[in-house]
């Protein structure tokens, strides 16, 4: 029968577990022949798939024809004037059917005939690209930010990713941030209270440089992210994918602490940080 740890071993292989869990999986595999061979099979399968299968790019004809269709959507091309090489629309053509190959290749989607609701906008490549850029720059959607925080936390637990500057001295860590991120977060060592300062890291997500201060509490790591506050406030306490997240604002900075510690432990650190921040942040 399959070992009960098989799914966790797979998650370990896929880089989806935190440092603590990874250690447990490694220890388990030392004693479980089945999971050792599972790890070998997973690696072998990945190697063959990535080495032997094609990774085709979209054909340039497809790229061009999508560009044309989107241009029509934005009113760049008059509806009656079919672009060269594109058959006139068959009015009754269903959006997706299975006619002859030639007909499929030439078929136009039916909503090409819809009113050109986007008339008047600029060239489509530009519009689409700008729209995507815009939504990236727009005030962060709460859920997306939280997801980003969790992935940044998980990423930091990969080997050698935790800290860019290693120091338990806040007088080393804080100036380091000045040269690497756009914000100057609260940095303090709370070793006496059980939260040891490990160092700092510059993270980058959603087109913004973010400071991460790393603490260790027992066997757990806590990332405290800080960036220039903008957009909607984040929920004060929330849990995503099994990680607890505590968020607060202080001065013009948004702080978020992420960890797999218990709530009490995480709140212990956030209380200390808020107190330290209020003491040395001019309001």
């Amino acid at each position: 029968m399959q070992c009960a740890e098989a799914l966790r071993v797979q998650a370990y292989f896929d880089g989806e577990v935190d440092a603590v869990s990874a250690l447990e999986v490694e220890r388990h595999a030392e004693h479980c022949a089945e999971c050792r061979s599972l790890l070998e099979h997973l690696a072998d399968t990945r190697l063959r798939l990535r080495r032997d299968l094609e990774f085709p790019s979209a054909p340039s004809a497809l790229r061009t024809s999508i560009g044309r269709l989107l241009d029509e959507e934005t009113g760049q091309v008059a509806p009656g004037v079919a672009a060269p090489g594109v058959a006139a629309p068959a009015v009754a053509a269903p959006a997706v059917a299975a006619p002859s190959v030639a007909a499929r290749a030439r078929r136009r989607p039916r909503w090409r005939l819809r009113p050109l609701w986007l008339a008047g906008l600029g060239g489509v490549g530009a519009v689409f690209a700008a729209a995507l850029a815009l939504l990236i720059a727009a005030p962060w959607a709460t859920n997306a930010v939280l997801d980003e925080l969790v992935s940044a936390h998980v990423r930091s637990l990969m080997p050698d990713h935790l800290t860019d500057v290693v120091s338990t001295d806040r007088h080393t860590v804080k100036p380091w941030f000045a040269g690497h991120v756009d914000v100057s977060p609260v940095v303090a060592d709370f070793a006496d209270q059980g939260y040891r300062l490990l160092g700092g890291r510059a993270d980058y997500f959603e087109h913004q440089r973010v400071a991460a201060v790393v603490y260790q509490h027992g066997a757990h790591f806590i990332n405290v992210f800080a960036w220039a506050a903008a957009g909607r406030p984040l929920p004060q306490y929330t849990t995503r994918s099994g990680y607890h997240i505590a968020c607060w604002r202080l001065g013009n900075l948004q702080y978020c602490a992420v960890s797999d510690t218990g709530w009490d432990e995480l709140q212990g650190l956030t209380r200390l940080l808020r107190a330290a921040g209020s003491a040395d942040t001019p309001q």
Partner: protein, 163 residues
């Protein structure tokens, strides 16, 4: 500049039977995406686009089913198969692997492709396939086990559809 077009195209190639239908699916997906992007609030654009590709494929399949013209997987033969004389052993192995992946049930194939070929996280795969992360994990495990089992059988010379 069409962001993530290559990823959308690759994903559609793995979803569609025959893979040549991918062009239509991707075209439709980009139009839907273009019309819907105002509804997108941050988050992962690639996962969002691939979700639309998947939805387009699902509705195409539904239409085909209604017309009862959906080809059975066994009828599917990868297009552009070269003549047997020009095929090297390595080529043959690559084709066999591609066929084995294509033969996986769709719900297994899609998670495998998103994980191994697009290098997406469980969370991203869950959002594209619209199932919980636990389901992604178990489907991925089954897909990998089935793929491995099938190629061991294949290597042992058991009957195969490849001519």
């Amino acid at each position: 500049m069409l962001p993530h077009l290559d990823a959308a195209y690759r994903f559609a190639r793995w979803l569609c039977r025959p893979p040549s239908d991918a062009d239509d699916i991707v075209q439709e997906a980009f139009l839907r995406a273009f019309r819907a992007f105002e509804g997108l609030r941050g988050g992962d654009v690639k996962a969002w686009l691939l979700t639309i590709v998947r939805n387009c494929h699902a509705s195409a399949l539904e239409q085909q089913r209604r017309r009862a013209t959906v080809p059975l997987p066994d009828d599917y033969e990868a297009e552009g198969s070269p003549s047997p004389e020009s095929v090297s052993a390595a080529d043959e192995e690559r084709r066999a692997l591609r066929r084995l992946v294509a033969a996986l049930p769709e719900e297994h194939r899609e998670v495998l492709v998103l994980r191994e070929m697009e290098d997406m996280s469980y969370r991203e795969i869950a959002s594209v396939t619209q199932v919980p992360i636990g389901t992604v994990m178990s489907r991925l495990a089954r897909a990998r086990a089935a793929l491995r089992g099938n190629w061991l059988k294949d290597a042992a010379g058991e009957p195969s559809a490849v001519r």
